[in-house]
Structures are given as C-alpha cells and as structure tokens.
C-alpha cells in the first residue's frame, strides 16, 4: 500500500507543485506554516480539488486531472484525523467511534470497537459526550474513529498541534501503538521536528509549495542541507539502536552502529530496538580521543561534509559506523581543528534522547 502524489495548485503567493511518494510506515510531511502542507493533505482526502496532476493509492487513481477522475471524499476510504478533532458534538464517544463502521466494506479485516477502545484507552469514555472530554481524550477518540472506518490509509493533519506539551507526551505512546499495531500507512503533517523524529520512517520536506527533500527519516534528518528547514535548535540526527544491557548503576547501554551509548535506565528488555535522537547542538567535535571528560558518550567517526550557514556556525556531518551525525560548531573551531571531509574525529555527545521504541519488534 503506497500513496503517490503529483499535483499542482495555485495558492496565495505561490503555486503548489508537489510530487512525492509515501510508502508504508509513517511519512511525515514537514514544513513551516504556510508551506502548503494542509493543501496537500486536503487534496489527498478529496476536500480540495487540485488544478492538475494525480493522486494514486496503491496504483488506483483517487484523482487524475487528465483522465477526469475525482473520487468523492466518502469513497476514498482515507481516515482523516484533523488538528481540531472534529468529533460530532451530539453523539456519544461510542457513536462517534462507530460512525464510519456501516460504510466500511464488508469483510474488510481490521480491529473492532473493543480492540480500538483498548488500544487507545477509550474504555471508560465510551458513554461520555465529546463536550466532557479533555483535548487529549478528544484526539484519541478521533484516532479511533478514523481507524474504525477501516481506511486504506490514515491522514493526520498536525493532530497534536492543539495540545499542550503534557498532553502530547500523554498521547504520543498511543500514536506509536496505533502505528505499530494497525500496520496502516500514515501520512503525518507536522511542523514539529521532535514529532517527526519520533514517529516518521519517511520524511518529505515542503517549502513554499515545493518538495525540497524526501527520503528515509534517518537520511533526511541528518542532512546538513536541511538544517535551515528544521531550525538550528531542533536539527539533529536520529540513529537506529538496540538495548545491549542494563547496568547495575542505573544506566542502560545502547548499541549503535558506531559504538555504544549510555542512557538513564530504560524499561525495555535487552534486544529491544529503538531510535535515538541526537541534536546537532548537543555534539562537541574533538580531533583526538578526549580524556578527563565527564561525557560518557563518545563515538569515533569521520567528517563527511561541512555546511556553513549565515552566522558564525558550521554544521558538520560525521559518519559514525553506518550512521550519520550532525554537529554544530563555530567556524573558528572548525578552522582550529582543520575539519574537512575525510578527517577523523570524535563526536562527544552531551545528550541523547530516545526518539522512539519499536514495541514488540525484538
């Protein structure tokens, strides 16, 4: 199941001209406000008719301007989760969840009400009205409602943007479970690098109506050319890892392709696959193995590329084992260390955060 999008549409200020492919997994459509993300997702859902182009789901055209195909919204079978939930205020949570069930094709496999309620923790809410739910609860119901309509794919338009940080943290694990257990491809529109790093397998970067970069999340996020799009504070690489062992002093040892990383104790058993995020401004570059440092996480590597920005900073891409890291250093340091492609260096990592844990994928 994959989605192919190739559309043009005039917008205020610029023309949207977008072509990308969303394979299985979570494809993040990333871009700043006004980049055209919502236009793209609405065109896919059928809420907006693009001027030209085509949209295929598993090879079947949902829209094709040349062939004059434009499937109505209700026949596209795409579960859409809106930023603002859009629950039906006059129906109970249970009625909201089952609203799309009667239109689901007969015999289509998929979870039932009980399973979805279980997956998203909705059991105690079923008989309530949407007006009596918190923002996070509403969004969970919206996920379940889209899922129960048995869609071929899920579309999510900044589903966490309206929530505060605490609610986001509360809802993200549910979203991860949804992603891992439903097996549905998800197109996830977001302007939050943290969410993209945590959820996405594929990233499409949109800027002023154009796709400026698309590819596997690890590659796009560690591309120094994308630092401007992700923002200096948020830019950083994600690395696949697995839990090697737990130490008695409360640290968990993670294996990445370039070495070992130590983090505060994690709950999962050894062998669990996970993904860590290392922000560019959390990496210090050294030209020899540092001694006498309190930092635990030091990976040897080789400079692949440098990219200078507007200010005094330089973004250095470092290959550590099979993975790429980003480090932000000053231009002065880059010159002092004679950083250039091919140079052997050590990446001293101040902070590592767990970007995502693949539940059950031992």
């Amino acid at each position: 199941m994959s989605l192919e999008v190739d559309i043009t549409h005039p917008l205020a200020g610029f023309d949207l001209r977008v072509a990308f492919e969303a394979p299985g997994g979570v494809t993040a459509l990333f871009g700043r406000s006004g980049a055209g993300k919502t236009t793209v997702i609405n065109a896919i859902a059928g809420l907006l008719r693009p001027q030209a182009g085509r949209i295929l789901l598993s090879g079947v055209p949902l829209f094709d301007a040349k062939a004059r195909v434009n499937l109505p919204v209700h026949r596209r079978r795409l579960g859409y989760v809106f930023q603002d939930g859009r629950l039906f205020p006059h129906l109970s949570v249970r009625q909201n969840l089952t609203y799309g069930c009667r239109f689901a094709p007969r015999g289509e496999p998929g979870p039932g009400l009980d399973e979805v309620a279980d997956l998203l923790g909705l059991g105690p809410l079923l008989d309530r009205r949407p007006g009596a739910l918190s923002g996070g609860e509403k969004q969970r119901v919206a996920f379940g409602r889209a899922l129960l309509a048995r869609p071929g794919m899920l579309l999510m338009d900044e589903p966490l943007a309206a929530l505060d940080a605490a609610r986001k943290e509360e809802i993200l694990p549910y979203l991860e479970r949804l992603r891992d257990q439903s097996g549905l491809p998800i197109l996830y529109v977001s302007h939050s690098v943290a969410e993209v790093a945590r959820l996405a397998t594929t990233v499409v970067v949109l800027e002023a109506g154009r796709v400026v970069r698309a590819g596997p999340a690890e590659q796009v996020l560690s591309d120094p050319a994308m630092v401007r799009q992700f923002g200096l504070r948020e830019a950083g690489a994600v690395l696949p890892a697995h839990i090697a062992r737990h130490h008695a002093d409360g640290l968990t040892e993670l294996a990445v392709s370039g070495g070992r990383l130590f983090l505060p104790e994690m709950d999962q058993p050894p062998g669990t696959r996970t993904r860590v995020r290392i922000l560019a401004h959390d990496v210090i570059v050294a030209d020899r193995a540092p001694e006498g440092l309190s930092a635990l996480n030091i990976l040897p590597g080789e400079v692949v590329a440098l990219r200078e920005g507007q200010g005094p900073g330089v973004v250095v891409q470092i290959r550590c084992g099979g993975d790429l890291l980003l480090a932000r250093v000053t231009r002065r340091s880059a010159e002092a260390l004679a950083l250039a492609p091919g140079r052997r260096v050590y990446a001293v990592i101040k902070t590592v955060s767990i970007a995502r844990t693949d539940v059950g994928a031992g």
Partner: protein
C-alpha cells in the same frame, strides 16, 4: 372550552389550528431544502431565489393574496392544472387558506433554519464524509440533528405567523364561515356586527393562549435539543 365558545367561534379556532398545522407541515421540508441551498450552495440565481423567498415578508399581504388568486385560482395557470390532474382546488377552500399561510410563513421558517445551518461547522460534515458517509447520510445524521433547535424555532415562528395570517388569506380565499374563516377573519367579522364584541374578545383570549402555549412548547423543545447538540 367547547361550551365556553359558541359553535361559530369554535369552528374558527379549529379551522385556524388545522390550517396552521398544515401550513407548517407543507413549508418545513421546502424550508429546510431552501435554507440549505441558500446557506451552503452557490449557484446562479441564488440572489433571485433569496428575493422570491422573502417577497411575502416585504409585499403587502393583500398583494400576495391577489397573486395567489391569480396563480392558484381555478382559472390560474397552476390552479387549473392542479384541479385537472389531482382534483386539488385552492380557491375559497381551507386548502387555499393553508397555502396562503404556508407562503406567508415561509420566509420566517427559512430565515430561522438558514441561521441554524450557517452556525453548523461545515468541517464536521467534511469529517463525516471522510468516514465514508454519503452526502444525504451526512445531512441526516450530522446537519439535521445539529440544526434541530433552529428547525423548531422556525416551525413555531411559522405556526404563529400562520395563526395570525389575515390579509393574504382573506384576499385569496375570502371569509367563509366553516370553510375559510380563520381566527383573525372571525375576530374581524365579529367586530363588524353589533354585539359581536364578546365573541371577538373570547377569540382574542384564545389567540393569546395559543401563542403562549406555542412559545412555551418551543422553548422546552429547543432547550432539550440545544442540550443534546452542545455535547455536554
């Protein structure tokens, strides 16, 4: 109550209730459709339709009544056809009074329902469509329940207007006791004859009572519907 009112008075009250109920039953479905079209669709001639709907509100009722007579009278273009095809006669019958009341109530019905439809977030209807629901189903399960308070308000407003309709009715179907003499026509008639004041006053009391009852019922229904819709 039947004892308290004379037979002629009772007849006028019963006829008015019948005429007004029919007027609402007739104008509600058309009213909802028209209100939906005006609120949600864009089509050529939308302003013209809007104007025509509002005409009975603006024109002197006598003019509306006369236009009805010309159109729906036995010799009128529409009235003649309806008589030939269905044996449906409006002129000087209670059916005509119901038609006149429906036409006069129509703008009020449409206005109330249109306001309610405009208050419904179209994004909820979009959400329903993404869940696989065809348009008509979306209307029946999302839009209609959400506009119910407005529909009730429109129906009550229209009913009150129909109960009070005088000018168009008397012009179109005259003032025939038992056939087309509604409450206002009866009050008017009693006031024209010596000693009719008492009868007129009793009918005025009935009018007030019916109006108050309709208002109370609508308040209760609308509050109940609004509570359902608010989602609390």
């Amino acid at each position: 109550m039947a004892d308290w009112l004379g037979p002629e008075e009772w007849q006028a009250v019963a006829l008015s209730l019948k005429v007004s109920l029919w007027a609402i039953v007739l104008s509600l479905p058309f009213g909802i459709l028209t209100a939906y079209a005006l609120a949600r669709w864009s089509f050529p001639g939308k302003q013209v339709l809007n104007g025509i709907v509002h005409l009975p509100l603006i024109l002197p009722p006598v003019v509306t009544g006369y236009l009805l007579l010309l159109t729906f009278g036995r010799r009128g273009p529409v009235g003649g056809l309806l008589d030939d095809w269905f044996g449906l006669v409006f002129a000087f019958r209670w059916t005509g009074a119901a038609l006149a009341a429906a036409i006069m109530a129509f703008p009020l019905v449409v206005r109330a329902i249109r306001l309610a439809i405009e208050a419904v977030d179209p994004r909820l209807e979009q959400a329903a469509a993404t869940l696989g629901a065809p348009r008509l189903w979306v209307f029946a399960t999302v839009t209609l329940p959400l506009i119910l308070p407005g529909v009730i308000a429109g129906a009550i407003l229209g009913f009150a207007k129909a109960m009070g309709e005088f000018g168009a009715t008397i012009t179109f179907v005259s003032n025939i006791p038992g056939q087309t003499q509604t409450l206002p026509s009866a009050i008017y008639t009693f006031l024209q004859v010596p000693g009719g004041d008492a009868s007129a006053l009793r009918l005025v009391a009935v009018s007030v009572a019916v109006a108050m009852a309709a208002l109370t019922v609508s308040e209760v229904l609308a509050r109940r519907a609004a509570k359902r819709v608010s989602g609390a």
